[in-house]
Amino acid sequence: MTTLNDEIKSGLPQGEAARRNVASRRRTGAIWRTIFLSATIIGLIALSLLIYNVVNEVFGYVATEYAVDPATLSDKPIDELNKDELVAVLQDNMRANAFRTLERDKPMADRSESEVYDLVIERVLKPQTLETWTLRDSWFNKAAIDAQVASEFPEAKLEFRSWLTAGFLTTPMSSDPLRAGVRTALLGSLWMIAITILFAFPIGVGAAIYLEEYATDNRFNRIIQTNINNLAGVPSIIYGMLGLVIFVRTLEPLTSGRIFGADSGNGRTIVAASLTMMLLILPIMIINGQEAIRAVPLSLRQASYGLGATKWQTIWHHVLPNALPGIFTGTILAVSRAIGETAPLIVVGASTFIVTDPDGPFAKFTALPIQIYNWTSRPQPEFAHIAASAIVVLLVMLLSLNAIAVLLRNRFSKRG
């Protein structure tokens, strides 16, 4: 008889060596854990820096000066004037035809006192921005700001303001950063995304179903599959050029709305941009859709077929409902990408300056990324502040669309 420990030479460490071996394996694990933790922390730092940068620009002190001295308008400070006196000030200090235009938009009698007050500020006093400061400066260097204002602009009014206001959302584009808003761009982005989803969702899901459920494994279908995978990596500006050639130029009668009786002159419309975005996100949506469909367990399909269901009944009643949460996740990712895309929009001709709301798929439009891009390229510092505000609007829009999609997804995965 041989005893285990004495006679059989074991390849495994014994006794003290075994303990050391376990400790060393645990150390290796701890090192990797630290590496993964630092990767997460780096990501968090990057995100915090981004948020800090945006917020830093959105709030801060602004020194403004009125082009007209309020003291010259009336005996009393204008804050104490009542509505009739304010209207009188307006009438006295504006050109007659400009005043008539205002009256035609909305009679003075119908306007509230604060509305008239705002008009006096805007049309008569005409505030000019002299200097702006970031949130960090406003917070930590208040004394320096006060000193600078006192020496350089003794007349100026210094106030802390948020560049992102309710008015910012509801006013259209303007060349004056104090009065510019993102209304047109926001509506443009919403229109564009709605139409993009409208086209991309059915086409993407349809293609995913065909490729996953019907396409046989032959050379032709493999080529299609490979090409879809590659298309997902094509730079977006290439899609922009494709969209320019196909949708803006070739399909101009369609995209300008001429054959629908809504002629907008040329093909640089919301629908052309949406179709371009659709091309851009289709590969992502198809690939995600296929993965979601592939993840539906075989046992479920077998159960359905075993009851005498046809292929289509199996797909419709079991495969699609069970793949839907995954398809929604893919759609969220794809749409998020489309919302933030700028390059293809520039190529297909989104307007950079437009003040009329888009009124349908064939309208001229601009989009939030275009607006941000436009503002960030201006030299005046005020535009950096409103660009940051527009970024906040874009981020909030993105997050709320994602939230809706997540809610939808959860709703569908709770079925049954």
């Binding site: 367990p297 075993g306 005498g308 079925r415």
Partner: protein, 265 residues
């Protein structure tokens, strides 16, 4: 166990010279088998011997496997199921199937059962459907467990209950034959016993073919047993087929005897 083997009216399914291929690989070699009406036929044999493949060929479930091909005939009411004018969808309604792992749909218990009739063109009223659901659940001995929670998900049931739900679901499309592919392999002994009792009940109205790894199960819960084995080319062959009592007490083939006595290498 005294039916005359020559009386074809007693056969629910007749398999003649069946070969099954996966691509170029022959998985089943020349199997002929008669499945008796209103009896339980067990298909036994070691892993990989092709018993599940044979079972799945009986209602054309193998059509769903890429590259699977069946030669020979499977006669059902004197009609070859593999004839060109036979639609597999119709075959699968009349020859139902219960799978190894309980696979209820992620829907309510009610909808699990109502699904089959609905997709097969059910024309009845809501109350007729209620009756049908109750009847199927009673037949599968599940009614008392679930009658108060028909709207709850089928996935909330225990494994054994899920499998009985799957049987109830199969019954709802009024099949003549029920194929069971190792229906108890994922279940505990008590649930297994319930399924076996259920099979005994169902035998009065349906023909049942069951694949099982469990020889005790075949011995106690089947009327006929077919023993399969791989040949040298790794293709499944039918070694012996006969009344369960005879096969287990007096096997004609040496290999059958080795297998059922556990002496198989």
């Amino acid at each position: 166990m005294t039916e005359k083997q020559t009386d074809t009216a007693n056969y629910s399914l007749t398999v003649r010279n069946m070969n099954v291929y996966y691509g170029t690989f022959r998985a089943i070699n020349n199997v002929s088998l008669n499945i008796e009406r209103n009896k339980i036929t067990a298909l036994i044999g070691p892993s990989g011997c092709g018993k599940s493949t044979v079972l799945r060929s009986l209602n054309r479930m193998n059509d769903l496997v890429n590259g699977a091909r069946v030669e020979g005939e499977v006669l059902f009411h004197e009609q070859n199921l593999y004839a060109n004018d036979v639609d597999a969808v119709e075959v699968r309604r009349r020859i139902g199937m219960v799978f190894q792992k309980p696979n209820p749909f992620p829907k309510s218990i009610y909808d699990n059962i109502a699904f089959g009739p609905r997709i097969n063109g059910w024309k009845g009223t809501k109350s007729e459907m209620d009756d049908l659901v109750e009847r199927c659940l009673r037949q599968s001995a599940l009614w008392d467990d679930v009658k108060d929670k028909l709207k709850e998900s089928g996935l909330a049931l225990s494994g054994g209950q899920q499998q009985r739900l799957c049987i109830a679901r199969a019954l709802a499309v009024e099949p003549e034959v029920i194929l069971m592919d190792e229906p108890c392999s994922a279940l505990d002994p008590i649930s297994t016993l319930k399924i076996e009792e259920l099979m005994m009940e169902l035998r009065q109205r349906y023909t049942i073919a069951i694949v099982t790894h469990n020889m005790q199960q075949a011995a106690r819960a089947s009327d006929y047993t077919a023993f399969f084995l791989m040949n040298d080319q790794r293709a499944g062959e039918l070694v012996e087929y006969g009344p369960t009592g005879d096969l287990f007490t007096n096997p004609k083939d040496k290999r059958t005897e080795d297998y059922i006595t556990g002496r198989f290498g």
